[in-house]
Symmetry: C2
Subunit: 272 residues, 2 copies
Amino acid sequence: MERLSLNQRTTERWTVAEAVDGCVRAGIGWIGLWREPVQSYGVARTARLVAEAGLRVSSLCRGGFITGLPGPGRDAALDDNRRAIDEAVALGADCLVMVVGGLPDGSRDLAGARARVADGVAALVPYASQAGVRLALEPMHPLYCADRGVLSTLGQALDLAAPFAPSSVGVVVDTFHVWWDPDVEAAIARSAGRIASFQVCDWITPFPADALLSRGMMGDGHIDFRRLRRLVEAAGYDGPIEVEIFNADLWAADPDEVVALLRRRYAEHVLG
Amino acid sequence: MERLSLNQRTTERWTVAEAVDGCVRAGIGWIGLWREPVQSYGVARTARLVAEAGLRVSSLCRGGFITGLPGPGRDAALDDNRRAIDEAVALGADCLVMVVGGLPDGSRDLAGARARVADGVAALVPYASQAGVRLALEPMHPLYCADRGVLSTLGQALDLAAPFAPSSVGVVVDTFHVWWDPDVEAAIARSAGRIASFQVCDWITPFPADALLSRGMMGDGHIDFRRLRRLVEAAGYDGPIEVEIFNADLWAADPDEVVALLRRRYAEHVLG
């Protein structure tokens, strides 16, 4: 259990303080934080709270959204990423998760959007490296290619990371996003030294009506977690395993019960 | 317009006879048929109707669903594919589209399911070749990996097709399924001689509540159709371009108006 991390969005109803307390009550030593609730509570205040509780921050979500065309909007997005890097420093987060963004409004130029992601990462790396923050590129399920993340496979994320030091630019392996990929085994092997975060949640069917809340508790769906965990471990990853689930039914449930359930399911399906 | 084909599911409300009449009225020379409505109308009767109307059948949907574990269920699935091959012969269809199937109930063994697809194709090829029917392997959007098609990329479909003659086993390039793929350009180039069907429909956002009815009219979404059409043409494909859209709003509309709209959108967004 010492590698288990609660991503705070899994217990959406909890404030930062409640999530920290919930982790302590449940004996969970890691937490994954999101910028918006952290900003609401205060970045420095969150950092103190987490440290006093003896928790470590497995990731901060999220930077990214850097597919915009050159201009003031893109400049603002890059500035916002620099603020996210500052927040990651303040929180002592292991990495800043980068959700790169979808196609700009009205654009069908996917290759162009992907090229701008590469440019944006290159623009942010000096600032992040200077700050000692690792950018964690998150390939997203192709379901989200149009509106959330044009980075669709782990192989593509690795190609994007390749020009930079592994300590500066890593990748996220999220089971929900990569489980279907026929090349996932080779891509995870290639990720050695680059895995900044390993996140788990299940792919459930029938596919929920809200595509953004389509993730399931481990064991409720179709993913072979043990296989993916062994692959990332074979690639040398021994860091936290973060449970990040966006699901309307779980968000409606008592968060303490959700945490108790995810501990059991983690033991059964991820460690197994 | 001579390459335009109406897949009959685009005008779901029409019977086979109405769809054939609708194509004739709209000056469309090709039709894509589905087994269930064809069986309702009668296979031989459909074949006569289509021939008398001067139409050609661009594809028959669908064979496949061959991921089951060995046993009577799998044997029945293979037998059903042989009947589908017979129907494709009777209809003079250019190809039989193969939707390979998802994970068996309760199984998380994706690699095993994929291996059984390869076995199933190998089992069907002799019968199909003898009958002169080309099996068209359809890679499906990873969204459908769990419950509909474990064949997730065009590259994977090509690997599966490779042991067989291109005249026996081809691939379907459906814009909805492949548009997001970072390797699509290379995969389409590799498809030379293997492209059995080119299907078009758009990826729309926000993602509709019913994942099976999530396809959009060309121009309503994010896909660059011209780019994909040029890629398949550069790979030597000059056959029909089939419009296949599952969408609740279009199904509720007057089918003649849907056909008029798709002709305009085809001219503007696909030919362009």
